[in-house]
């Protein structure tokens, strides 16, 4: 037992919250007792969160955009409709998906400074660092420095555009197709597209 805990009165100890797994479990049990099917919904949702909402969805979108100019044009015009053609849906409250095209001269980067919003059904749920205060605080103000620290050194002539997800519009970055991938199948192209590249903190 640490010194801080030893110094606590019995009253303080009674005020220590239970571990989160117990608090979450108590809520799930309470909701299940309402007879609305909370537990089976949660089981199904956990499966979706771990198996369905994965960056391979966005990778398929990117590979298709690289190989099909008509799809690319549709994707840049109306992202939500275009990804629906590939069987990828967004939650109802994400009414708009904007796809941001990187070029040799432009690097797009997405973030959410106030919470941690992402197009999670397309690019996967946000990783830890995206939700951490460091990224949320710094990327809008020190984008080039933050990207460099994360391993992406951009030439000075590359303009950086940071997109703060402050409404329910969602964003994904369409990375540049790497040289040397001519003639690759869509499947092989999709295999090199990463979540980081679709957030915009890496180039391929």
């Amino acid at each position: 037992m640490g010194a801080v805990e030893l110094a606590m009165s019995a009253n303080d100890r009674r005020n220590i919250p239970a571990p989160p797994e117990q608090r979450v479990s108590a809520l799930e049990t309470a909701l299940e007792s309402r007879g609305l099917g909370a537990k089976s919904f949660v089981d199904a949702h956990v499966r979706s969160a771990t198996e369905d909402w994965v960056p391979q969805n966005g990778a398929r979108v990117v590979a298709k955009a690289w190989t099909d100019p008509a799809f690319r044009a549709r994707l840049l015009k109306n992202g939500k409709d275009a990804v629906a053609k590939l069987g990828i849906t967004l939650p109802a409250h994400h009414r708009h998906l904007v796809v941001l095209e990187n070029t040799a001269k432009v690097q797009n980067v997405i973030c959410c400074t106030q919470c941690s919003c992402t197009a999670y059904t397309v690019i996967g749920l946000p990783p830890d660092w995206y939700k951490d205060f460091e990224y949320r605080a710094r990327v809008v103000r020190e984008a080039r420095t933050v990207l460099r620290e994360m391993g992406l050194e951009l030439p000075a002539e590359v303009e950086i555009k940071v997109w703060d997800t402050s409404a329910d519009t969602r964003y994904m970055v369409l990375p540049e197709r790497p040289k040397g991938t001519e003639g690759w199948s869509e499947e092989k192209l999709a295999s090199i597209v990463t979540k980081d590249a679709m957030i915009g903190v890496a180039r391929l």
Binding site: P20, R23, A30
Partner: protein, 204 residues
């Protein structure tokens, strides 16, 4: 509200703890808590604006020390207790200790009375709005001028929607701000794009 959640541009944070293989979840309770939020939305017990605001209402020391999913759970359980879906007593009895909740909500507000329609290329200024309730305007753009890049379909107005106040849906504008106008002599050069609700904007 100008809360600790509104992190964009705050200084003093260290390097982003980045890993290309960053985990999305670390424990089962995180997945189940995340799923319980989706269940609550499906039951129409709460909407995402209420949920975001419930997290923002966390006591600042709790907010800053909590993990992402601790914040997620706290926002969810606070709303379900406030709305009478579950009782604090039943949950605290089940875990044998306190369930930390967010602080009470202040009042919301309806859309701005006079709202203007903008088109790409228009120069706009973010109004000097200071509100005690929910707002999706990151403080770093307050009073700042930018250029409209696009208009989105209409969304529920968060300042109202988070508080059960009736309001019309309204579009958001993708507004591009120059980082050196947001933080003169104090930022890396970049364009910062923010989705700004129509009510927050006036013609510059």
């Amino acid at each position: 509200m100008d809360g600790v959640h509104d992190l964009g541009g705050r200084q003093g944070f260290g390097r982003v703890r980045h890993s290309p293989k960053a985990d999305v979840f670390h424990a089962d309770w995180e997945k189940r808590s995340n799923a319980l939020l989706a269940f609550a939305v499906k039951q129409s017990w709460l909407n995402m604006d209420e949920y975001r605001h419930a997290i923002e209402r966390m006591e600042p020391r709790h907010y800053l020390a909590a993990s992402y999913y601790e914040r997620q759970y706290t926002g969810l359980v606070t709303l379900l207790i406030e709305k009478g879906v579950v009782s604090r007593e039943e949950l605290e009895r089940a875990v044998g200790g306190p369930i930390p909740l967010s602080l009470p909500s202040a009042a919301g507000r309806p859309n701005a009375a006079a709202r203007q329609r903008f088109k790409p290329g228009d120069r706009v200024r973010v109004k000097q709005d200071f509100v005690r309730g929910h707002i999706r305007m990151p403080a770093y753009i307050r009073g700042k001028t930018g250029t409209v890049v696009a208009e989105t379909p209409a969304y529920p107005f968060p300042d109202a929607h988070a508080h059960g106040v009736h309001a019309e849906d309204e579009p958001t504008y993708d507004v591009a701000f120059k980082s050196d106008e947001l933080w003169p002599n104090g930022a890396d050069k970049a364009l910062v794009h923010v989705g700004v609700f129509q009510s927050y904007l006036e013609r510059a």
